[in-house]
């Protein structure tokens, strides 16, 4: 009799959990459609900007390196433009996911009046939109590069996808953490953009870890995004293997940031709704 009662109550709990999960999927789906609308349809330039931002960076870096006559950092097979592209795409994946997710609560405050919409859903929807956008941008740019003769065969697709996903997770975790900090410190934006600028210059977008002087490299290798980009390039280029890539260091940082970010979101949920 008791066993039966326990089973019944656990079945009810399971049913409830399943329904909540379904509601949450519905909410995230609705948020995704809504975010896509505001980001791209409202603002037709949004499409172009998503594509032009990395292109302008590649061109600018290319122009500078060509002007000072620096050869491509990795072997001769590679073209400089592809080298920069494979640094910039993972960088933007991290940086945009982190900053868009960070602003999620501010730009969607009205939606938090609906009880089924939580800060978690809003942030996850933003991060997913960023992931999809960068994947599309990356594929389009490879096609455009291919059209201009920079054809390239991706060395290890599975590794490339894993690196991509890991970097995205780091951006998402960072965004969760930052959005919670921002609820208590509204001026955190300035601090974070200073941190992000520092990361930009130490992430290996326009160099490889091998090219750094050993004493500087030792410090730069504490930047997890440098590992992410090294991993991304090792998977992209057949001729490039990184001697300095430490995946377990990268995973540890991602897991720690993710745990902190999720905990911070959970702790600050009430506050997100009050502001």
């Amino acid at each position: 009799m008791t066993v039966c009662a326990v089973n019944l109550s656990s079945m009810i709990t399971m049913n409830l959990t399943f329904r909540r999960f379904k509601t949450q999927c519905r909410v995230i789906h609705a948020l995704l459609l809504r975010e896509t609308r505001t980001r791209f349809d409202r603002n037709k330039l949004g499409y172009l900007w998503a594509l032009f931002e990395p292109v302008t960076y590649v061109l600018a870096l290319y122009a500078v390196f060509a002007a000072i006559g620096r050869p491509s950092p990795i072997g001769s097979e590679l073209d400089l433009a592809l080298f920069f592209l494979t640094g910039l795409i993972p960088w933007f994946l991290f940086a945009h996911t982190a900053s868009k997710t960070m602003e999620g609560i501010n730009s969607n405050k009205a939606l938090l009046t609906y009880p089924q919409v939580t800060a978690f859903d809003v942030l996850v929807a933003r991060a997913i939109l960023e992931l999809v956008t960068i994947i599309i941008v990356f594929v389009l740019l490879l096609l455009i590069f291919g059209y201009f003769g920079f054809t390239h065969r991706i060395d290890n697709f599975l590794e490339l996808a894993s690196a991509f996903f890991t970097i995205w997770l780091l951006g998402l975790a960072m965004g969760f953490l930052n959005s919670s900090i921002k609820l208590y410190l509204p001026s955190f934006n300035q601090t974070y953009s200073a941190i992000q600028r520092f990361l930009f210059f130490t992430s290996g977008i326009f160099f490889t870890a091998e090219m750094l002087p050993p004493n500087i490299r030792e410090i730069a290798l504490y930047n997890p995004i440098l590992h992410g980009i090294e991993w991304f390039r090792s998977a992209f280029f057949h001729s490039y293997e990184s001697y300095h890539l430490d995946k377990s260091f990268l995973f540890s940082i991602v897991l720690i940031t993710l745990a902190l970010g999720l905990a911070a979101e959970h702790k600050s949920r009430k506050r997100a709704r009050q502001l």
Partner: protein, 215 residues
């Protein structure tokens, strides 16, 4: 089903914390319309927001089953940069409601004309409340929350609101805050009375109204 389990809710004031609920447990009677009475500032609207889930308690749990509306006429949940139609689609999606049906109903009800396809930021306050009101009538909420407002707009639109609300109240249950004793008499079957000393539950509406008059 709505149930409060040991719920505490307070606000920090310069004179100290003001408690609205202290370790309050209550199971809302299913299928019964409930009125909330109390003096100004006793926490009625906060209670409604706690029920709606747009505010969290300090402590304790609030269990909710089924679809609950936002307070009738409340338009704070719209995104100003999206059109009325886009907001409607979003709300239908999160409440699992039929988009074509709700669109037709709201277009007919809210009298927005071409404004339906304009961003909400171009709306007047009246337009926003008409849209919000129409939506709460069109979606099959099991519980409708009312914070004083039973109708919006001019007097003929108000009349239309009341008619739709009456029809709606036959299939949904209502939880309402009101200072109009006649509205309370018309719709409610039990009462929660907020007093400085705490909350009293009445199953007899007249008895509750007398007690409220004696506060």
């Amino acid at each position: 089903m709505i149930e409060f389990q040991n719920v505490t809710k307070s606000y920090p004031l310069s004179s100290g914390r003001q408690y609205i609920l202290r370790d309050f447990s209550f199971q809302f009677p299913e299928g019964k319309n409930l009125g909330i009475l109390g003096k100004n500032g006793s926490g009625k609207s906060t209670m409604l927001r706690l029920i709606a889930g747009s505010e969290y308690p300090d402590n304790g749990d609030i269990l909710r089953e089924g679809k609950l509306s936002w307070p009738l006429g409340f338009s704070g949940g719209f995104s100003p940069n999206l059109t009325g139609e886009e907001n409607l689609r979003f709300i239908c999606r999160i409440y699992d409601a039929n988009i074509p049906y709700v669109s037709e109903y709201v277009k007919d009800f809210a009298e927005l004309g071409d404004f339906f396809y304009e961003p909400i930021r171009n709306y007047s306050n009246g337009m926003k409340s008409r849209l919000a009101f129409g939506l709460s009538m069109a979606i099959d909420f099991e519980v409708i929350l009312v914070d004083e407002i039973l109708g919006v707009g001019d007097s003929s639109f108000r009349k239309k609101c009341t008619e739709h609300f009456k029809k709606k109240s036959e299939e949904s249950s209502i939880i309402m805050v009101s200072h109009e004793m006649n509205t309370i008499r018309n719709f409610c079957e039990s009462i929660l009375l907020f007093d400085k000393g705490g909350i009293t539950v009445f199953d007899d509406v007249e008895e509750a109204i007398t007690a409220y008059g004696n506060l």
